[in-house]
């Protein structure tokens, strides 16, 4: 011990003279001590805990991180990330420790005041129901009386969102719900009972609980992926695949990585380290972002295009790639790839100077050749019908493959004949449809047809001139007038042409050197625009031209709503009750809400506005609502509810008329006595009546056009500035009723563990178990593991798991059905289905509408399929609880691969136990077991059987991909123990064999398996009459919609405001609406709603940081604080996604109404090409195709308001 009492350097420690276990350091600076006394017991006690339980966070986050939840004295204390993921191998970073601050703060909800612990009913409704129930003795009769008495219905609907909840018992709340559902099934039809719950992957059993219920009832289930504008429509268009992307660990394999509209540290927090780490391996990183987003700091180069102009930049890069790597110099790797794996060599007909459709074998006189596409063999110059196109898929086993044999497809025609074609451009022109430009292509005559190749069209479209082809061509990269050059994009995006050239060139050169390891990570910033499909096609062109797709470390990496339920077969068959009946009513949400929240009544953009001059005028006089109605009646896009009558009555009426159901329906449709809902959505017979939301916050997060929902769906008027469309813009085919209905919905039920904006407006709020209180399983695109939710504690008070809630509801419905429903026959109008022979219904995508006599209505061909399903409503509760007999009878079918699963049914009988001889699904963990058992990714036998089937179809070898795992399976209890790696399976397109990182389409590229498209290849050319009408057959840049022109500049009406683009990127302090109300996240952010704006825009309206501002446009109004930052570009503001209106939202200055949230500023628009269907890869599947609910094209005015706020 040395103690110095030097007065200068030995300050107060010198006073410590009675030390026994301390060492005072030199000159008395430091005190060393061995712990010994008891003072530190506080920290030791705090760290103590009783148990650790593995769980995760479900639904709204796609990170799928495994967490350890700590429990002490029966209470959840905190959560830390699990670190026990299977390793990626010795030379790559591991997945641990996945997580983010939002997940780390979840346990705050467990005991927070935001928690919903009891069932709540809207007070006015509860009073009426209790009285009527008592008086009438029957809950269904009580419900009927309330909703059929206008004054009563008005009384409770008008109180939505205005407080006044009363507590109810669990049984009472369930009974009220069941009564409403039974009444609706009986009176209006089961398809008027609607359910919505997103993204099954992140809690499959919870999702399945409600979807299974709706499936068995005959209810309508709404889509989410397209609705969220997360679905990249370009993916089905190009690949015939919903979305398939690399796991995050595959970023490590990239050697050039562009982040395009994806703010990885914020939105892919658990994965971001792979990006940071790949840089050390020598990977170049480029950020494309309009603002200095958090990810930009990781980039070697930052390109900041004006919002929504990304497509122009990508087209210019494509111009550079085609010029330097296809024209001036050829790269064997790229050329070979293009020949084998893209539609570039295929022949397209030219009619009237416009590209028309793929030449097919039928044009060459082959029978059944309508779906077989044609190319030229470069060796012989002969026409060839190669294997792999759609025509081989269902008809000729063994020839559906990409094996070209000795054929070398000609990439471009070698021909002295040339013709000018008209090509679309959208950067100029009087309408959204833009203009055209004429450029020459080499052509050849085949019979009556003038043809060229897709490659030649693409070269022309991108403006890459070869030889002296005629037409209007750019003079060079610096030609700013000719579309798709680097200089042209600079005018549009603001990105220097020099950078567009440099990055485009580097990207391709890296792909050349690395054989395809250039990657583009895409995010919502690029995807959630109205024309995102066109933007994405420009991106995807870059990765397909450079041979990056289907290569580890390369290709597109789209991370917007990573929906991948890896055990997809079990998940879908169980969720949609395919074990009892097939199909169920899957509905595309965007057209559904466009019609049923009456947003169509406010439309000021006619459908024709979007049409290119290349089109034939087929949308003239049509509104978007008309295109919805047309797509539904032609069987392309689902329309549920479909008929303007109760579908349960149709079967009875047919029987009474002595006709088959099909004949009866066709006759009545043709004579007009039977109509469709889409053609008269404001007829009270056609309203959706009951809406149940679980795992969802429709009115606080995803509901684009929130104020329209409020008024028309709920009956709470809040639209102040929106005006209905002028008579000349009204629909042609859809009935206009002068009085717009308000309060269409009879019952809104929110099932949640926290009180959201949806809950505030609901009639019934049911308390749900949290993610730490239930059994379930989770997977994601981002990693290849399956892991579990497990209950750390029991749900408190009246809270129930989603699984138990829907079992209780089903039981109650079954009980009431004995009196009210019994056994009925339901008739479904099901759309033509992707990955089935329905894809052959409309050769070449030629459109014929039976309504106008262009053809006859033929179910399954020119209109939806008509399918009868017998429903015993008294058995719904029992069917929920067991695996139904169709599993043995029909097996499972995923992406056209059918597998006999009798062994799995037998296994489940033993594993889960039986009820009435069927495998039990009585609990959520049993449901998890069933999902895992029926899926190839988690059951090697199923994967093996599926690959055998695929081998028969293709004649190629696949079963070796599952070799060694044929007898392995992942059980639920194993997923509780640690994250489990999945098996390679025909359900997906990549291989994980040997611990390989997942990358999509590696199986296609390496095993010559066709894509699910018309040519069997990746597409540059998309054929369909509606696509042609919009001028979108080939990649092109379409700018953001000109909202100011269509709807007027919102600033015109407001003094002292600045008009800006209103963007809603994903937030740092929340996952969608979740965590916005979490006090930890509120403490780390600004404690309430904010709008980020540039220093310049703030100066224009005299606003300083943290001052209150108001944003408004025709759709609604937002009150928020300003965050002023120089990292924001002038002219654009951000309100980060889904702040809700529940925390720290004051009233608006003038209207005194509560400020809204980001979707108060938006309204839906329907892009008709997203409805196009009936043909090849454009045929419908749930969440696979359908109009996206985009929200980025919007503008708003921002002004400073008085700083006094009222709540």
């Amino acid at each position: 011990m040395t103690v110095s009492l030097d007065p200068g350097t030995g300050p107060l420690l010198g006073a410590r003279r009675f030390l026994t276990r301390e060492t005072i350091g030199d000159h008395g600076r430091t005190l060393h001590q061995v712990d010994g006394n008891e003072w530190d017991s506080f920290y030791r006690d705090r760290w103590r805990y009783d148990k650790v339980v593995r769980s995760t966070h479900g639904v709204n986050c796609t990170g799928s991180c495994s967490w350890n939840v700590f429990v002490k004295d029966g209470l959840i204390t905190w959560e830390h990330q699990a670190t026990d993921y299977p390793t990626t191998g010795p030379d790559a970073p591991d997945y641990e420790p996945r997580g983010c601050p939002r997940g780390a703060s979840f346990s705050w909800y467990e005991y927070s005041p935001s928690r919903v612990r009891h069932p709540y009913l809207r007070g006015v409704l509860a009073e009426m129901f209790r009285e009527a129930r008592q008086r009438l003795g029957d809950p269904v009769a009580a419900w009927a009386e309330i909703v059929e008495t206008p004054l009563k219905a008005m009384a409770y609907k008008g109180q939505r969102g205005r407080g006044g909840f009363v507590r109810a018992s669990w049984d009472e709340a369930i009974e009220l719900m069941a009564a409403a559902h039974v009444y609706t099934v009986k009176t209006f039809g089961p398809d008027r009972v609607v359910g919505f719950s997103p993204i099954p992957a992140m809690s499959m059993a919870s999702f399945a609980a409600g979807t299974r219920y709706h499936a068995l009832l005959g209810g309508t289930l709404l889509s989410f992926y397209d609705w969220y504008a997360d679905l990249p429509i370009a993916s089905p268009q190009i690949w015939g695949d919903q979305t398939d992307v690399p796991e995050a660990g595959d970023w490590w394999n990239a050697t050039y990585l562009m982040m395009w509209g994806s703010n990885i540290p914020v939105t892919r927090t658990p994965d971001a380290h792979f990006l940071a780490e790949a840089r050390y391996k020598g990977t170049k990183v480029v950020a494309v972002s309009p603002d200095y987003a958090d990810n930009v700091k990781f980039a070697d180069d930052w390109l900041a295009p004006h919002p929504g102009t990304d497509g122009a930049l990508a087209m210019a890069m494509g111009h550079v790639v085609l010029t330097e790597f296809f024209r001036d110099r050829q790269v064997d790797y790229f050329t070979d790839y293009a020949r084998s794996f893209t539609d570039l060599p295929f022949l397209v007909t030219i009619v009237d100077g416009k590209a028309d459709r793929f030449l097919t074998a039928a044009d060459l006189g082959h029978t059944e050749g309508e779906h077989k596409t044609v190319l030229v063999d470069a060796n012989t110059g002969e026409l060839v019908v190669p294997n792999g196109s759609l025509g081989f898929r269902y008809a000729e086993p063994g020839r559906w493959n990409l094996d070209l044999g000795d054929v070398v497809p000609s990439l471009g025609l070698v021909s002295d004949d040339v013709a000018e074609v008209e090509l679309a451009r959208f950067d100029v022109g009087d309408t959204e449809g833009g203009s055209t430009i004429r450029r020459g292509v080499p052509v050849r005559r085949v019979g009556d047809h003038l043809v060229t190749t897709v490659f030649d069209l693409v070269m022309a479209q991108y403006g890459v001139r070869r030889g002296d082809l005629p037409g209007s061509w750019p003079t060079g990269y610096d030609d700013a007038e000719s579309p798709n050059t680097p200089a042209w994009q600079e005018k549009i995006t603001g990105v220097p042409a020099r950078l567009a050239i440099k990055i485009g060139r580097e990207f391709a050169r890296n792909a050349e050197r690395s054989r395809g390891r250039s990657m583009i990570v895409l995010g919502a910033g690029a995807n959630q625009w109205f024309h995102s499909d066109m933007t994405y096609r420009a991106f995807i062109s870059l990765v397909t031209l450079t041979g990056c797709q289907g290569v580890n470390g390369g290709g597109w990496a789209h991370y917007v709503g990573q929906e991948k339920a890896r055990p997809v077969t079990g998940q879908q068959h169980m969720s949609f009750a395919f074990d009892w009946q097939r199909p169920m009513r899957h509905q595309a949400s965007t057209p559904f809400w466009y019609l049923h929240t009456d947003q169509w009544r406010y439309e000021r953009v006619p459908a024709d506005e979007l049409a290119s001059p290349l089109g034939t005028g087929r949308f003239a006089g049509m509104a978007f609502a008309d295109t919805v109605a047309a797509a539904q009646r032609m069987g392309w896009s689902p329309g549920h509810p479909f008929f303007n009558r109760n579908p349960l009555d149709l079967a009875d009426q047919a029987a009474a008329a002595g006709e088959t159901v099909q004949d009866y329906i066709l006759k009545n449709l043709e004579n007009g006595t039977l109509g469709t809902v889409a053609e008269d959505p404001d007829d009270p017979a056609n309203f959706p009546r009951c809406l149940t939301l679980w795992r969802a916050n429709l009115l606080g997060s995803s509901g684009k056009g929130n104020e329209y929902f409020m008024r028309h769906l709920l009956g709470v008027s809040s639209l102040e500035t929106a005006t209905e469309c002028d008579p000349e813009n009204r629909p042609r085919d859809v009935t206009w009723r002068d009085e717009a209905p308000v309060g269409k919905l009879d019952l809104l039920t929110a099932i949640d563990f926290r009180m959201t904006n949806t809950g505030l407006h609901a009639d019934v709020v049911l308390p749900a178990a949290t993610w730490y209180e239930k059994h379930d399983i989770s997977t994601t695109d981002m990693h290849p593991f399956v892991h579990a939710f497990s209950p750390a504690v029991e749900p408190p008070a009246d809270a129930h798991t989603d699984y138990d809630t829907f079992l209780a509801l089903a039981d109650k419905v079954s009980e009431l059905a004995v009196t009210h429903l019994g056994v009925r026959t339901d008739v479904l109008a099901a759309p033509l289905q992707h990955d089935t022979p329905d894809e052959l219904a409309m050769p070449s995508g030629r459109v014929r509408d039976w309504k106008f006599g262009e053809c006859s209505p033929q179910p399954g061909k020119t209109m939806p399929k008509l399918i009868e399903i017998e429903r015993d409503y008294t058995l719904i509760g029992k069917k929920m609880r067991t695996v139904g007999p169709l599993m043995e009878k029909l097996g499972t079918t995923t992406k056209a691969i059918t597998v006999d699963v009798k062994p799995e049914v037998d296994y489940l009988k033993h594993q889960n136990g039986v009820i009435d001889g069927r495998p039990s699904l009585a609990t959520a963990d049993r449901m998890c077991e069933a999902i895992l058992s029926f899926s190839g990714t988690t059951n090697g036998r199923v994967a093996h059987a599926g690959f055998q089937e695929l081998e028969k179809r293709t004649g190629q070898r696949f079963t070796d991909l599952i070799e060694g795992h044929e007898n392995d399976r992942v059980t639920y209890s194993e997923t509780q123990e640690a994250p489990q790696p999945v098996f390679t399976s025909p359900e997906w397109s990549g291989s994980e064999k040997g611990g390989r990182r997942y990358s999509p389409f590696t199986i296609n590229v390496e095993r010559l398996k066709p894509w699910h498209t018309i040519t069997g290849r990746q597409h540059f050319f998309v054929e369909h009459d509606w696509v042609a009408e919009l001028g979108e057959q080939l990649p092109a840049f379409r700018p953001p919609l000109n909202m100011a022109r269509h709807f007027g500049k919102p600033g015109d009406a407001v003094d002292g405001g600045v008009t800006v683009r209103f963007l809603t990127p994903h937030a740092k302090w929340s996952i969608h609406s979740m965590y916005h109300d979490n006090e930890l996240m509120l403490a780390l952010s600004r404690g309430g709603p904010v709008i980020w704006m540039s220093v310049q825009d703030a100066a224009k309206i005299g606003v300083r940081d943290n001052e209150w501002i108001e944003a408004h446009n025709r759709n609604g109004l937002v009150v928020a604080r300003a965050v002023v930052s120089h990292r924001m570009p002038e002219g654009t503001v951000f309100q980060y996604h889904s702040p809700e209106r529940t925390v720290n939202v004051p009233k608006a200055e003038k209207s005194k109404r509560r400020g809204g949230y980001h979707n108060s500023m938006t309204r839906l628009l329907v892009k008709p090409t997203h409805l196009a269907g009936g043909h090849a890869q454009l045929t419908y599947a749930f969440n696979y195709y359908g109009p996206i609910g985009s929200q980025r094209d919007e503008i708003t005015v921002i002004r400073r308001r008085t700083q006094e706020v009222e709540y």
């Binding site: 420690l13 005190l31 061995v34 760290w47 420790p97 540290p265 002023v1124 120089h1126």
Partner: protein, 498 residues
């Protein structure tokens, strides 16, 4: 030589994504309780910015840390013993709650309990957690996040850089700076404590506040130049980051480390010579960094190992010190730097500075873009002015700060050649004075960074403490002592499958 062990941390700022998971898991575990609402043992700041609490780096204002007096002796900036004793009841250098932030809470059950017939939806409005009064939120724990607001130009590290740093869109740069207690070798807080409540643990150097001895004088708060000692306003006592000692004792990483999603934290043992600390803290500013590195002892040196054995350290610790990633990053690769060495506290949390290589939105002017294989920018092109990093990490020495960036940049270029062509670009290594083997090992530690390589913490802590006990009586005899059930009993130890 008096050999001691220090559990130290290195954070690689180049990997930090600014997510704050570390802050949340730390707060959830340690400080989400009454009295510490405003306390974040671990926080993350956006730089440039004034940080948390406001302007904490401005020692002219707060008088934290040490300085050399007129005679070249080391003195607390806040004054000597007598002057400080005089201020004991009215410390003028103490941040107020507004310098941190006033924590808010929100209405409790209004969303479900609101009576019917409202004109609008109910809403939760903000209330002060401290006073219970309605409040307007004007500042927070992370107010400047991702460069929000108008305070970043007050960052003291920007002094003299007005011509180099412009807060304009196209010239934007930022990085994140996670901070915990530095567990300094020369801790000003310990020295300033009148009660002797603060101490540096014998066995591993963790700086702690003895809650029984603390009398709430708050001199530690002022003296700490990093403002990482806080006052619990409920108990009136000081509290601070404990380096998660109950976990460290069990061989587990700190919570902020294990939950770090960016995988940027490294934990390991350093040997240092306690006898050399004072001298190292007393050298002129430009020599501080080298002097601080000079305090550390080479764990591979047999003499050091023998000294450690002689001092009672078990073999396990000697091995751990050799495997220490912290030693490698600080002393072998020399890419980790201390935060504000000029505070002279010899901080034990070091940082690899951010490469953040992005150029401005217009791209670097005047470069040759035609070579599509030459894709990286030189560090001269980088947008974070090296002077700014030097102000943070090298007491202003731009050559050292720039040298670290050169190493990182050269590593990337070297590894690109390895990855793409399998070639070894030795010419890239000449300028940074590293061998191919060193660069590849450094790359593995930074990039692949397996769990076991990031965190090398010897267990058997209690045994160590006992062996080091050279004073009367064994501390382990006490009830609740580290060897007597006082340590944690982990229900699961994190095991990772191959």
């Amino acid at each position: 030589m008096r050999i001691r062990a220090q559990v130290a941390m290195v954070m690689n700022l180049d990997k930090c994504i600014g997510c704050h998971t570390c802050s949340v898991t730390c707060k959830q575990t340690w400080t989400n309780r009454e009295g510490t609402e405003y306390v974040w043992f671990n926080n993350v700041e956006t730089k440039p910015g004034i940080g948390y609490p406001k302007h904490y780096e401005d020692q002219e204002r707060w008088k934290g840390g040490w300085k050399l007096d007129g005679k070249g002796r080391l003195v607390l900036r806040s004054g000597g013993r007598l002057s400080r004793l005089g201020k004991i009841f009215a410390n003028p250098d103490l941040p107020t709650i507004d310098d941190y932030y006033e924590p808010a809470t929100f209405d409790k059950d209004i969303l479900v309990s609101a009576p019917g017939g409202l004109t609008d939806t109910p809403v939760k409005k903000p209330w002060s957690k401290l006073t219970g009064e309605p409040m307007s939120i004007e500042w927070g724990a992370n107010w400047e996040d991702s460069l929000g607001g108008d305070t970043m130009d007050q960052d003291p590290n920007l002094r003299g850089l007005a011509d180099k740093v412009k807060f304009e869109f196209e010239k934007t740069f930022m990085f994140h700076l996670p901070r915990i207690c530095e567990h300094c070798l020369n801790p000003a807080c310990v020295s300033a404590c009148p009660s002797g409540a603060m101490y540096k643990r014998e066995e591993d150097g963790i700086v702690l506040v003895d809650q029984d001895r603390c009398r709430g004088w708050r001199m530690c708060v002022s003296a700490c130049p990093y403002k990482k000692v806080y006052v619990n306003h409920a108990t009136g006592k000081a509290e601070k980051c404990t380096f998660c000692f109950p976990r460290i004792e069990a061989g587990q990483p700190t919570i902020c480390s294990e939950t770090c999603v960016g995988r940027l934290r490294y934990l390991g043992i350093l040997w240092y010579d306690e006898d050399a600390v004072l001298a190292a803290a007393t050298v002129p500013e430009e020599e501080l960094l080298d002097a601080q590195r000079g305090v550390f002892l080479d764990p591979f040196d047999p003499a050091v190992q023998q000294a450690a054995r002689d001092a009672g350290h078990p073999e396990e610790w000697i091995e751990a010190a050799m495997a220490s990633p912290v030693w490698k990053l600080i002393s072998e690769y020399r890419i980790a730097l201390p935060l504000h060495p000029e505070y002279r506290t010899l901080p034990m949390v070091w940082y690899v500075p951010p490469l953040s290589p992005v150029l401005d939105a217009a791209g670097a002017a005047g470069r040759d873009d035609t070579d599509a294989d030459d894709i990286f920018h030189t560090i001269e092109d980088l947008r974070i002015p090296v002077e700014y990093l030097a102000s943070l990490f090298t007491a202003g020495d731009t050559a050292v700060a720039g040298g670290v960036l050169m190493k990182l940049a050269a590593m990337r270029a070297y590894m690109r050649a390895r990855t793409l062509d399998g070639t070894v670009a030795n010419e890239l290594l000449d300028g940074i004075g590293m061998t191919a083997g060193q660069v590849e090992a450094m790359y593995r530690l930074l990039a692949i960074a397996k769990y076991d390589e990031r965190y090398v913490i010897p267990a058997a802590h209690a045994k160590t403490a006992a062996a080091l006990e050279d004073l009367g009586g064994c501390s382990l005899d006490g009830e609740g002592g580290p060897g007597m059930g006082g340590g944690p009993v982990p229900v699961i130890l994190s095991t990772r499958r191959p």
